[in-house]
Amino acid sequence: MKTAARHMGEALPIPIAMPLSERLGVAFWLALMWIAVVVFLAVSAGLWPLPEPDRMDWTAQAAPPGTITLMPAGGAAEHTAPVKVLYLFGTDTMGRDILARLIFGARVSLAVGLITPLIGLLVGGGLGLLAGFYRGWLASVLATLMDTVLAFPGLVLLLGVTFYLGPGLANIIIALGILTIPAFFRVARANTLALAEREFVLAARLLGQGNMHILLREILPNVLMPLVVYALLVVSYMVIAEGALSFLGLGVPPPTPSWGGMIAEGREMLQAAPHVSLIPAAVMFLTVLSFNLMGDALRGLADCREGQL
């Protein structure tokens, strides 16, 4: 049981203001580094000296990490010396290099993870801003519509949209983006409702500022921060959602690699070759965790700045 009052043992160590980097915390910087690495690798995917992600090496199926094999370099007609190939993370059930597939799969996950919240932010956030500011019956109708979509089971909606639009990365992004719109709408609307009552908005009105100007210059800058923080959290949800879709076979169609698909492929070999599922799972875990930590740290920073001691 803690004692009721705390004593100062030695003098408090740091009588100086905490710099920004410290306030964000170690976790934030580690997370940022991981995300930076993933993004860098995804963008520069084709430049690395790795085997093609869809090249199947039947001599090394489900090989453990660190396996080195000899691959014939050119076609059968050429007598070039075989090349040593290092599978850093091993291969999957069809002999494809896991590392290469991870890097190319990162493109899919990041595309889904980053673009879908953007759709939600722009459409949902924009609508929420308007609904919270103008109110009226139209806003109520919109809010009810959003609540309906929110209440609908997401997976069923996704299935419906992908069935209608067809498979493919773009369609998945659109479908998931539509799913995130209601949540952003609610965040934007709630914040706008609160801000629209604040005195500085009234002061701007009293100075003669028109409605559109107030919305863009007074309210939007203040709503942006909570929306961005929320968007970062949605990124991690979307990465998982894409993974789940791929796992179920509803995601990006093969041969494009994706993390969820990679996890799915390895699930029958979990006992014999666990690395096939676990490595992509670990990478996805770290990525999602990093986005969460970044979102948390930024939210803490935003709260701290607005508040006072």
């Binding site: 009721a4 009052a5 705390r6 100062m8 043992g9 203001a17």
Partner: protein
């Protein structure tokens, strides 16, 4: 202030430091005072002078980032409060030391009926049965002047006006007949007519029960009217303390005088120029040198900026102040 024989609360050398992103805030910086049984002591000062933090330190309700100095002690009825385990402190809080706050709405649980909140305290501290506690709660609500107490006991805080809510908060605080009541700006958020009623009620109850009251206020006039002794705080320190009558008769600390003069008085005609204190309230983040009020003081001299004056009992009985060149010296 001299320690009277029936000294209920004694605070020595209390220092509270809080770590913030901007640095270490010295919220309370070396405060010592005594409070006798049945006496009312007013802690007067502006916001940021440390009076609220001082009360929280006494009640053991400091925020997580706050630290007390190791040589501080707070003795209540002979018991040392600092370092007391949470469990024992819980038995003292509410039973022997009670606290009421500035905003009654945040002090009351919005989803619990008034009567239940009062009887909760009785059940926990006095081990009364639910029924007996409820009966006594209604009596206490009547004692604090709430009309139709049996009906009000079944209502929620949002159904009461500001004045009634503060009375309800007082009922909760006084339920177990505490020996010490800490009132942190109890009337600041209320209308002026209600303010007077609440302060009257406080005086009545105090007289009936011989309760000691630590009244925190930013209003020196209220302090002068309702308290036996006044301690004026500035930048976390007590700069002047005296019995009310003595303080009214003659202030020695320039800050106290400047504060009194900057308050508009009813007797003055309209558009009287106020003698405002120049400058800003002090930054509580160190380092400090000299008297904290010196940068804003009209009678400051070189010594004031270099050396911090100690709080000494000078002048008339019980009149202490911290100033090198108090008012009245050439």
């Amino acid at each position: 202030m001299n320690a009277m024989p029936s000294c209920l609360l004694r605070v020595e050398n209390l220092r509270v430091r809080i770590a913030t992103p901007r640095g270490v805030v010295h919220a309370v910086d070396g405060v010592s005072f005594d409070l006798a049984q049945g006496q009312t002591l007013a802690l007067a000062g502006e916001s940021g002078c440390g009076k609220s933090m001082l009360c929280r330190a006494i009640a053991g309700l400091l925020p997580a980032a706050a630290r007390l100095s190791p040589d501080a002690w707070v003795r209540f009825a002979g018991r040392e409060l600092i370092g007391l385990p949470e469990r024992d402190l819980n038995h003292i809080r509410g039973r022997e030391i009670a606290m009421i706050f500035q905003d009654p709405m945040s002090a009351l649980n919005p989803v619990m009926k008034i009567g239940t909140q009062v009887s909760e305290s009785l059940v926990f501290h006095l081990r009364l049965s639910r029924r007996a506690a409820r009966r006594q709660a209604t009596e206490i609500l009547a004692a604090v002047g709430i009309p139709a107490p049996d009906i009000r006991a079944g209502q929620y805080p949002h159904q009461l006006s500001g004045g009634l809510r503060q009375r309800a908060a007082m009922a909760i605080a006084l339920a177990c007949e505490p020996a010490l009541l800490i009132a942190d700006e109890p009337t600041t958020a209320l209308d002026v007519t209600v303010q007077a009623e609440i302060l009257d009620l406080l005086s009545d109850i105090q007289r009936e029960r011989r309760m000691s009251v630590l009244l925190v206020t930013h209003d020196l006039t209220v302090a002068g009217e309702r308290a036996d002794a006044i301690a004026v705080m500035y930048a976390g320190q007590i700069v002047e303390s005296a019995p009310s009558a003595a303080l009214r008769a003659g202030m020695r600390m320039p800050y106290t005088r400047a504060l009194t003069e900057s308050i508009p008085r009813i007797q003055d005609p309209p558009h009287t120029r106020l003698k405002a204190i120049e400058g800003q309230p002090p930054d509580l983040i160190g380092p400090f040198s000299g008297c904290r009020f010196a940068p804003r003081c009209k009678s400051a001299r070189k010594r004031c900026l270099a050396e911090a004056p100690p709080l000494l009992n000078q002048g008339a009985a019980g009149h202490a102040f911290a100033c090198w060149y108090p008012l009245g010296t050439p």
